[in-house]
């Protein structure tokens, strides 16, 4: 990629910014709209040179290693993001991280890592799984393919015999099956599954199960710099929760993609609540203190999960990544990590959803800052709050009074008021080339 003469030398406080950004985008949804409408950003053809690429993971896998990227270039994935997003690898990393924490900081600290349900990778840990299975008879387990999304291939079971058949089929058919998709080729020959202890006492709202979708933006792993988006949503299952019908996939999986095909799904309804609504509901029911503690525990999940892969992910200054975290609450208001998505759905289900995702992507681009408008010292950009910057980030500005004080609050506002437009007006200079308003 050759240098073009259209980067501007900003003043010494700011990075070099570009007034014209050439981008590629492999998605045909909200992302494309945001990119189209960004002043000074131009889409490039197939083989054209680009400064910014919102690619899908397939493209990444095929091209990343062969691409030379100049310093200013940005791409929306880390090369080996799957260390965090593939269920079997995430489990492996989390388990290893927990051991490290226990060794270095003791048991009490290690307990803070117990936010993922008991999980085993199959087939390699099959025997370990069976041991544990026998120890808790009658409990429910969930089987998930490591590489698929949108709820495909997931099923629940209580008896070992339910998976005997599956075991025979899956393990034996590995090498001969040529119809596997690209994603699955990345794995060892066998399509891996994970089996996980199913959370039987999820927090229900009027009998309905839900999970939380939260957005985290990571711009660097070494040092770790991560932002938390204030908006998010709770995705409801369409029918009442009951353990009686394990077969009713629609009840247990709160994934919107699955719910969309469920018999009673009403597309107009869009069975989601905004995070603010959920937060208010929980506060009304349990009080402010309990809910604040809950959200602190949720913050803990984000930070520790990222720390667990910090040393494994190939850090690259060209990369950033917007993750979609799925969190489940149980009846004791303990949050559990279900999954991390490297390509969270950015297709909107309705107008409100569109506006939220539009803002999310727009703020992501503000933080990536191709235009060089930020100082790098910001703690908040639009709807994103800086959650971790090589260390915890606090709302209070550091000073002598706050030094060593235990009363510092984390700089996170999940489910809080998102007055991003106002904040952005105060924060950002106009785009290069735009007249000052």
């Amino acid at each position: 990629m050759s240098k073009t003469g259209n980067h501007i030398k900003a003043d010494s406080n700011h990075r070099e910014g570009r007034s014209c950004v050439r981008y590629k985008c492999s998605l045909m949804n909200t992302v494309l709209d945001v990119l189209h409408q960004r002043p000074g950003w131009v889409e490039v053809k197939e083989d054209g040179e680009w400064d910014f690429n919102w690619c899908d993971v397939g493209w990444l896998r095929e091209n990343f290693d062969h691409s030379y990227m100049e310093e200013h270039v940005r791409i929306c994935h880390f090369r080996n993001h799957y260390e965090l997003t593939r269920k079997n690898l995430m489990v492996k990393n989390l388990k290893r991280y927990r051991k490290t924490v226990e060794r270095e900081a003791g048991r009490l600290e290690a307990v803070k890592c117990d936010f993922f349900p008991l999980t085993f990778v199959l087939p390699s840990e099959y025997h370990l799984f069976v041991e544990d299975f026998k120890r808790s008879p009658g409990s429910t387990w969930i089987m998930k393919p490591v590489a698929r999304s949108q709820g495909k291939g997931i099923f629940l079971f209580r008896k070992l015999k339910d998976i005997m058949e599956w075991k025979k089929v899956k393990i034996c058919s590995s090498n001969t099956d040529c119809t596997r998709s690209d994603e699955q080729r990345d794995e060892a020959q066998v399509e891996s599954y994970v089996v996980q202890s199913y959370i039987e006492n999820p927090y229900l709202i009027h009998g309905r199960k839900f999970d939380l979708r939260v957005y985290i933006l990571v711009t660097s792993y070494l040092p770790l710099k991560a932002w938390l988006y204030r908006d998010g949503f709770a995705r409801f299952s369409n029918t009442r929760f009951s353990l009686r019908t394990i077969d009713d996939q629609y009840v247990h999986l709160t994934n919107v993609a699955v719910q969309k095909t469920a018999p009673v799904y009403n597309p107009e309804k869009g069975c989601k609540w905004q995070m603010q609504q959920l937060r208010r509901y929980l506060t009304a029911k349990h009080g402010t203190y309990v809910v604040e503690e809950l959200f602190k525990d949720i913050d803990n999940i984000f930070i520790r999960s990222l720390q667990s892969v910090q040393k494994v992910i190939i850090n690259d200054k060209h990369c950033f990544e917007l993750y979609g975290y799925d969190i489940l609450l149980d009846q004791d208001l303990k949050p559990w990590l279900i999954e991390v998505n490297a390509s969270p759905s950015l297709t909107a289900s309705n107008q409100d959803d569109y506006e939220m995702k539009y803002s999310l992507i727009e703020d992501t681009l503000h933080i990536v800052d191709m235009e060089g408008r930020l100082t790098g010292k910001e703690k908040r950009v639009g709807g994103f709050d800086l959650m971790w910057n090589d260390g915890p980030v606090f709302r209070e500005n550091a000073g002598l009074e706050t030094l060593g004080s235990p009363f510092q609050t984390a700089n996170t506002h999940l489910g809080g008021v998102n007055d991003r437009k106002k904040q952005l007006r105060q924060l950002l200079k106009p785009f290069p080339g735009q007249k000052k308003v």
Binding site: I205, G207, T239, R280, G287
Partner: protein, 540 residues
């Protein structure tokens, strides 16, 4: 002319009568008896000591709360010779209008019966009863065919009735004048104007802090919010109804609202309340009412389609089906005399609990097995929205039911019945129109010119007390004040404030449809600043 002293005695006597035999009464007696064993109770000062004991153990407070509650729903005292219905509604023409409106509704219900061939009430076969009991918690899962049912009436039908009210004392000899057609409501009632409202709602003034304004993200909590929450916790600990009501005028913190509202409404969840709810539930299981289908339809059309309330579908059925059978609700405001004439069906006399409470001249449909049930409130389109916001605060159906019932009996019923009460829909409509006419005359004139009478747009908001139009957190802030001031007046003020807020855009429109479009989406509005600006920041 009654003097204050005897008026008070009458009130006291009425309240004592109402509290006699309640669970609270028996508890107080029990406590008083049991405390006699205690060392601090001396024979020579037994009355004083027992009183002291009841005060110290919080029982006096409970009694205070109960009395306070009764005062809320007691009709204003009138002449001792006046019948009850006259004290409930002193204006004869209003009584008549309400009675004829009720007749119309029942007639409409009856003709729906005949048209659809569905009985008004039907005893459920045992199998069906069992089925319903087992799926009591998931009635929303059903998708019955409701296409042939229509709501009995919609708010706009009710508006037409109000527009056609006639005060027989009004002198129409002037004929049609500009004044007589200045607004839609043709009668004169005393409604308050901004200077009077300022005096009545001092806690909303610019110099007074409150939730909905001073808890904004940019305001440090030390300035107001933290202290307000601390006081709120204290009020809840003290279990003081009156204090909770006063407190609520500045808004209830989200984490305390459920408890505060329960206090204000004096929802004690006594065994009586639980038993009452169970009885109603049994009535639902036992027989099926035509009205049930209307409830299903209403919930499916409104709450289930709402982005936030859809989660509460099941519990809405549990509340509304019971409510439609709760005839005790009627006694609080019905203008029918205390023992309304009953009708029996097909010779099944003597079945007291299954008699119909209809005016006798309304045609009745013969029902299966001759069993008809007493009908309570008949829902209109959007009725379920009175309950939906409460689902945010209360989880157990019994408590939710009690809260809703009390709110209905104190406030909501006034929004769809004809009366001269200052909180009644007639007064609210008139007040709304007057406020606009006086403070935004240009806007009012313009809208009238383009055949977009403001009331036609605002009416649906007011009938639902804005439920479903405002975002939930804003709605709850509004309802905080309704409870705090024990009046629905702010609903009318808010409606005017919304028009004031969007006045600029409204002056540009040239048709009713465009006016409706400007006012279609209220979900981004912040209620308290609107009210505050309208009442306290406008130049009078």
């Amino acid at each position: 002319m009654m003097n204050e002293g005897s008026e008070l005695s009458v009130t006291i006597a009425q309240i004592v009568q109402r509290l006699k035999g309640t669970h609270l009464h028996s508890q107080l007696e029990k406590q008083a008896k049991e405390c006699l064993h205690r060392p601090e109770i001396r024979l020579e000062s037994i009355k004083e000591d027992v009183r002291k004991f009841l005060r110290a153990t919080g029982w006096e407070r409970k009694l205070q709360n109960a009395v306070y509650r009764e005062l809320h729903i007691l009709p204003p005292s009138g002449h001792p010779e006046a019948p009850l219905e006259h004290t409930k509604e002193p204006l004869a023409y209003m009584r008549k209008a309400q009675a004829s409106w009720e007749k119309r509704i029942l007639k409409s219900l009856n003709s729906m019966c005949t048209e659809l061939g569905v009985p008004l009430a039907r005893k459920r076969p045992v199998l069906e009863q069992k089925e319903l009991t087992s799926k009591w918690n998931e009635m929303g899962a059903d998708e019955p065919d409701l296409s042939k049912f229509r709501p009995v009436y919609a708010p706009k039908d009710f508006l037409e009735v109000l527009i056609n009210l006639k005060n027989p004392n009004h002198d129409h000899s002037d004929g049609l004048t500009a004044r007589s057609h200045w607004g839609l409501i043709p009668i004169s009632l005393s409604v308050r104007d901004v200077p009077q409202l300022r005096e009545a709602y001092p806690e909303l003034s610019l110099s007074c802090s409150q939730l909905g304004i001073d808890d904004h993200a940019h305001v440090p909590p030390d300035l107001f919010e933290s202290e307000h929450i601390r006081i709120g916790k204290k009020v809840v600990d003290e279990q003081d109804s009156a204090a909770a009501q006063q407190y609520s005028r500045q808004g209830s913190p989200t984490g305390l609202r459920a408890q505060l509202w329960a206090l204000i409404l004096n929802i004690t969840n006594d065994p009586e309340d639980v038993a009452h709810y169970e009885q109603l539930k049994a009535a639902v299981i036992h027989h099926d009412l035509l009205v049930d289908n209307l409830i299903y339809k209403d919930v499916k059309l409104t709450a289930s389609n709402d982005d936030y309330y859809f989660v509460f579908e099941d519990v809405l059925y549990q509340v509304l089906l019971c409510f439609s059978r709760d005839t005790a609700v009627l006694e609080h405001f019905s203008y029918n005399s205390a023992t309304p004439p009953k009708s029996y069906i097909q010779g099944k006399t003597g079945e007291e609990e299954f008699a119909v409470v209809y005016p006798p001249n309304v045609p009745l449909l013969p029902c299966q097995m001759g069993i008809v049930c007493r009908l309570g409130v008949i829902p209109f389109h959007g009725f379920s929205m009175y309950v939906a916001p409460l689902c945010f605060l209360y989880n157990e159906p019994c408590k939710l039911y009690s809260v809703f019932r009390e709110m209905y009996v104190r406030y909501f019923f006034r929004l769809h019945s004809i009366s001269s009460s200052p909180s009644g829909i007639v007064s609210l409509c008139l007040q709304f129109e007057r406020l606009l006419q006086i403070h935004l005359p240009q806007l009012f004139f313009h809208l009238q010119e383009i055949m977009a009478q403001p009331l036609r747009i605002a009416f649906k908001w007011m009938v639902r007390a804005f439920s479903g139009y405002l975002s939930t957190d804003q709605l709850l802030l509004l309802w905080d004040r309704i409870l705090g001031y024990d009046s629905l007046e702010l609903v009318a003020v808010l409606a005017a404030a919304v028009f004031a807020f969007r006045a600029e855009n409204l002056m540009e429109v040239t048709s009713l449809a465009s006016a409706e479009a400007v006012l279609a989406d209220l979900s981004t509005l912040k209620v308290m600043p609107l009210l505050q600006i309208f009442l306290f920041a406008n130049v009078i």
